[in-house]
């Protein structure tokens, strides 16, 4: 950012000079006016400025620190909770408890920015993590350094034994989960309709199957823009599915549902549907034919081609004047058009 601003200002040096003069002139003018009135209003001004400074230091500074912590919490809940917890155990990704102690800060920042480039650079710890968590890619995040730092700060504040008990109590991870509810047929059906787009999301979010596919006879084939969700439940777990649906960590999905979040009930229904689909497909894997399939296909092809060959035997194969044409003398001159 700084760099680009710098570039712009140097690049437009032509107009900079006259404007600089103008600004200086204005300052001089203001000082002149202030000087002129100082004698009259001096006492009042001083009191005002003093009180303003006091007010700022007393109110805004803590407020600013508070805002920073709030931002960390907001970002964490928005982008991380789908896969990570703080001291709540492994979800899709590792538990991030005490991350500020376990890993150097620079490493954490760059990993959050782009985990794949770290893994590709061959960092042993990153590679080990990648292998450990089923080679699931952590999406890149478009956070600024201060934002990442705020997240780390939030995690540190909520790691046990590191901060005040009050902060810990603020991390109410269970609040992101939907209240316990038993899955009914109705939920699954409703989830299917939401997935298919037969039922509109309350907040007008885009329907799932515009990007995702589910390999099922009774579900319309969906898009191939994003992952096939047939076995999403066994891959992500119920909590993971719910977290991703409720708060997409993926940039494209987050953008798509920006300002159109799903309601808790919708998240629950979709998760129920995905769970149902996953279990159903697991129990419905077709029989395995092995080499028999290949050879029966081969045999069928032979029969079919034989049939075609048989059909062709009775057809007219060549022109009736074939022999005459064969005998005719062909010209040998070059084609001048070539």
């Amino acid at each position: 950012m700084m760099r680009s601003v710098f570039k712009v200002s140097t690049g437009n040096a032509d107009w900079k000079r006259p404007r600089k003069v103008a600004i200086l002139r204005q300052i001089v003018e203001v000082c002149h006016i202030l000087n002129a009135r100082y004698t009259v209003k001096r006492a009042f001004e001083r009191t005002f400025i003093l009180s303003a400074i006091l007010f700022w230091s007393a109110f805004c500074v803590p407020r600013l620190a508070c805002a920073q912590q709030d931002e960390g919490e907001k970002l964490f809940k928005q982008s991380c909770t789908a896969c990570h917890t703080i001291n709540q155990g492994v979800r899709l990704g590792p538990d991030l408890v005490n991350i500020h102690n376990r890993r150097p800060e620079e490493w954490t920042v760059s990993f959050i920015k782009s985990s794949q480039s770290i893994i590709k650079s061959g960092d042993p710890y990153a590679v080990e993590l990648f292998e450990k968590f089923n080679k699931m890619v952590m999406p890149d995040n478009n956070f600024t350094d201060p934002q990442i730092l705020s997240i780390i700060q939030y995690i540190a504040a909520n790691s046990p034994g590191e901060s005040t008990g009050a902060a810990v109590s603020q991390c109410d991870c269970s609040s992101t989960d939907a209240p316990a509810q038993s899955v009914s047929e109705e939920n699954i059906r409703s989830g299917q309709m939401l997935f298919n787009g037969k039922k509109r999301f309350t907040n007008n979010g885009p329907t799932c199957h515009s990007c995702h596919n589910i390999d099922r006879a009774d579900v319309t084939a969906g898009g191939t823009l994003a992952k096939d969700l047939t076995n999403a439940h066994s891959g992500l777990g119920e909590a993971g599915v719910k977290a991703i649906i409720g708060n997409a960590p993926f940039p494209a999905m987050a953008k798509a549902y920006d300002g159109k979040p799903l309601t808790d009930q919708e998240v629950f229904d979709l998760a129920a549907f995905l769970q149902y689909v996953d279990r159903d497909s697991a129990s419905n894997n077709g029989p395995y034919y092995g080499a028999r399939l290949f050879f029966s296909g081969l045999g069928g092809a032979v029969v079919l081609f034989g049939l075609f060959a048989g059909v062709r035997t009775r057809s007219k194969k060549r022109c009736v004047n074939h022999e005459i044409y064969e005998r005719q003398i062909k010209s040998t001159w070059e084609d001048s058009n070539k």
Binding site: V311, S315, K316, R318, V320, N321, H322, D335, N337
Partner: protein, 520 residues
Amino acid sequence: MDVRAQISMVFHLDKCIGCHTCSVACKNIWTDRKGAEYMWWNNVETKPGTGYPGKWEDQEIYKGGWEKKGANGRISLKGAGKLRGLLNIFHNPHLPVIDDYYEPFTYKYLDLIEAPAGDDQPTARPVSLITGKPIDIKMGPNWDDDLSGTPDYARNDPNLQDLSPAEQEAMFQLERMAFFYLPRICNHCLNPACVASCPSGAIYKRGEDGVVLINQEVCRAWRMCVTACPYKKSYYNWSTGKSEKCILCYPRLEAGYAPACMHSCVGRIRYLGVMLYDADKIQSAATDHDNDSNAIDLQMDILLDPFDPEVVQAAKENGMADSTVKAAQTSPTYKFVKEWGLAVPLHPEFRTLPMLFYVPPLLPVMASLSEAKNAEQEKKLDPIAKSWNDDWLYDTSTEELWGTVDQARFPLKYMANMFTAGDEEKIKDILKKLMAVRIHRRGVTVGDIPAERVQTTLEGVGLTPEMADDIYTLTALAKFDERFVIPAAHREQAMEMMDFVGDTKGSSGFGINQVAERGL
């Protein structure tokens, strides 16, 4: 009786001079388009010859026409049908290819003008009208005209089957050869195989005049009609992806003009008129014969006498206009076909009941044929000249001036194979009639034939002197309006079958949507 009207044609082959004017007229009007260059809706062939496309009469190659199969005596298409159609629906195996017709070509005439100065005369090279590239011309639509290339073409004529080797040799002896021309257009059959074969239902026979047409908007390029038509008169346009055929110049007919090929005919060989027929008998006429002369008789049976009050009454009940019945009564084709029995259809054994009839040519008859001691004579045959040194095969010195039809130099069998499904007697009858008319007219104009001899000749073929004069008049002297008796088209009625015309009529005071009552 289900009386209907059919525009029918008669081509008088004795009058055809083989000038191809008809073909050119047709080409200029209808097929001078991209994709249609190779089509000749009207073409003129030399007989004996293989024709256009090559060997079109050989249905073992092209599988056209109808076939009587099985014990139930019903006929089915030779090359199409439900099961066969399904099996071949994406690949019709008996289609003629472009080389069976010929690859259409033109010449690069501009080269003659634009070639740079050089030592040699510039030439206009032939270029294909399909690919646009220079080609070697291999074939044309009338490549075997006037018996050119006889060993390849005339000797391979499918009609030569059943002819003895001696008879065949007789036809091809140098300086004694004979040939005639066979102009062909769509026969507008009563039992059209093309219509029956079309999977899209794009081909139809017009109700009012029996013209067979292909609806270009319905045609889906299956090309089953190309195979099914035994006369190979349905053509596939490779540019539009539709099949096309002779439309009998129906726009001209509707305006009262003769079709272009007939209008332009130099020899005035063509006649056109309406014939009434009994549609109830079509199936039996196509089915109840075994590829013999009975085919002709059955076809003649379904053609009705337009003077018969019963027929006229039935025609009226079928909604036929009086003007059409009147046209049928003055039809020249009715006279040639039914009244005089001079014209016969081409290849009735295809069972399509063609409605284009031919008056067979009374070809050189001034030579008699004797065939004896066959095996012995075969040995004497010169292998190169294909000729005998003595007068064994041919004797041109007949006692009578007219020779005898029985001993015609052109084998009757050949004609019979073409026109009467192999029945030589029928052909002989017709030729004798033609001969009798000539003898009669010679008696009238020259007077060197005794009257009683003329009398016996005419009686022998069942003609009266008046009939002979009529035949002579219609053959030799007929004017335009006698050769072409075109009924009023009554398009107003045809239009009412398809469109609701009540609005227009109501607004001009003719009443609402009702059958046209115009005193027709």
